[in-house]
Amino acid sequence: MALVVQAYVPKYFPGFAAYVDLPLLVTIFFAMARRNPIAGLITGAIIGLFQDLLGHNPIGIYGIAKTVVGYGASSLGVKLDLENAGARLLVTLGFYLVHSAVYFTVARGLVNSTQHWSLPQGILAGIVNGVIGVLLYFMLDRFKQRT
């Protein structure tokens, strides 16, 4: 669902893809909710690889980045209880930066891609993702409780 929205919304809001990464938010949420590092990293790998398949870049760049994030988020979820909105925002911001760092390292180091990474834009995008993430986690929490 997150991938469908991520692929559809930029058709009308071109800046959406530059600042929002819904698959990443879903990866973080499920990884933290399951609190199992193996499940977290596998969830991240599957979502990331699927995201790679939708683009034209070599398959695996998003996969590697989201695998790392999935593992990190689930490991953090085991140790900390992240129910607070502020903590969730900070965690999402942090994982967004980790994701970007891994992505650009792999893209430049392994694939020899000429991607540019700007730290201010990365932080801004991280905050945007954090705010959207807090709202999304709240919705998903409600949905989880209902089910």
């Binding site: 893809a17 790998a45 398949l53 034209h56 760049i61 392994l110 020899n112």
Partner: protein
């Protein structure tokens, strides 16, 4: 060893999963797979899995929009209709002028044994989604191999070029936009005729590369396709130059604003068939400006034959519209100064030629001997405001009726 793996089980699995993905990446980089056959199938599966949802969303949105705009929100439609009709009239006149230009160009191309490309078939498609990543500038369209779409076909809109088909599935295709880093389009500047290569940048801008820094490029100049990439036919609009600066390696850094709005694409055309053939001149019945103008004058009645004959005696036969329009004739009056005859045409020598259409003003001005249409001189209409026709009793200049 077993105790080590058991103790660091999670970390071991993480390393293993990462290793597998790095290995996969290395294989792709080594073989240059990218969009090639090795990953084509799995990418198509992914697209097939996701596009039905996007199609459904687009369908709901389009249906709702159509219902609203076609049945409820009709404000200003009459005024728009009137405006469009006026526009059609103007464009028909423009078409006559352009037809003459095109015929002349074809004649010259024939002389030069020039081969030209024709877009013979296009398929209209709707954009249903994007790659969802800012680093992969491509869109999905709702037509694929079943509609005759294949890889490396040009994708355009009415405004300009959009990109090329990267991968075609049965019912959907991926289109690589010209703003993507991996795209490349042969382009030419319209006025200076300088050629370069159009490329996208990491932040989605479009740049024209490979233009030497000692060349003069003006901001605002139009960029067209050069046809050198064998994908886009020559002469399609690409965009306009927005900034010119010095780049590296003695080349200019030219930023282009694409003519097509790549950020908000709705419908596109895929050029599924191109033909390259020798230019030939076709001389099938020309549409005369007088005919078109006459159709715009429904108030001018067809004169009876007797009246026409009388009028023919007073006005010289050579005063017909196709030879040299008189300022007092309705046609000449409506397009005086705008209609000019081609000089040196032997077909114009005999006096008394007539227009074939009963509504043409040459009949109204008294023409007795009809001539075949092929003998008529071509008229070129320039777009100028049509002056008001003078009264019918305006004296005419004397004409020489003697045959030459």
């Amino acid at each position: 060893m077993e105790s080590f793996l058991g103790r660091y089980r999670n970390l071991t699995i993480l390393v293993f999963v990462l290793f597998l993905q790095v290995l996969g990446l290395a294989v792709q980089v080594k073989t240059g797979a990218g969009e090639k056959a090795e990953t084509r199938l799995i990418r198509m599966w992914a697209a097939t899995a996701i596009t039905p949802f996007e199609r459904a969303v687009v369908w709901v949105q389009t249906s709702t929009g159509n219902l609203w705009h076609n049945y409820f929100y009709l404000r200003g439609v009459r005024a728009e209709n009137r405006q469009l009709k006026e526009q059609i009239e103007q464009m028909r006149l423009e078409q006559v002028r352009l037809t003459e230009d095109a015929a002349q160009a074809r004649r010259l191309q024939t002389l030069l044994s020039f081969k030209e490309q024709f877009v013979s078939k296009t398929v209209a498609a709707q954009v249903i989604g994007t790659a969802g990543s800012d680093l992969s500038r491509m869109v999905y369209i709702d037509k694929g191999e079943n509609s005759g779409i294949g890889p490396d076909m040009a994708v355009i809109t009415s405004d300009g070029i959009v990109g090329k088909v990267l991968l075609a599935g049965p019912n959907e295709s991926r289109v690589l936009l010209i703003s993507d880093q991996t795209s490349g389009v042969g382009a030419i500047l319209e006025k200076s005729r300088l050629q370069g290569v159009l490329r996208g940048t990491a932040n989605g801008e479009v740049m024209l590369e490979r233009v030497m820094s000692d060349e003069q490029v003006q901001t605002g100049e139009t960029v067209l396709t050069s046809g050198g990439d064998q994908i886009f036919p020559k002469g399609l609009p690409v965009g306009t130059v927005t900034r010119v600066g010095n780049g590296k390696d003695l080349f200019l850094n030219i930023r282009i604003k694409p003519a097509a709005n790549l950020a908000k694409l709705e419908e596109v055309l895929v050029l599924t068939e191109k033909q390259e053939r020798q230019a030939v001149t076709e001389d099938h019945g020309r549409v005369r400006a007088a005919d078109i103008l006459a159709q715009r004058l429904p108030s001018v009645p067809d004169k009876p034959a007797e009246t026409a004959a009388v009028a023919g005696t007073s006005a010289s036969p050579s005063s017909t519209a196709n030879a040299a329009p008189k300022p007092n004739s309705p046609v000449a009056g409506s397009a005086a100064g705008a209609v000019k005859s081609a000089s040196g045409n032997p077909a114009a020598k005999p006096a008394g030629t007539s227009a074939p259409s009963p509504k043409t003003t040459s009949q109204a001005s008294g023409v007795q001997k009809p001539k075949p249409e092929s003998a008529q001189k071509p008229l070129i209409v320039e777009q100028k405001p049509a002056p008001v026709a003078p009264p019918a009793d305006t004296p005419q200049p004397p004409q020489d009726n003697s045959p030459q």
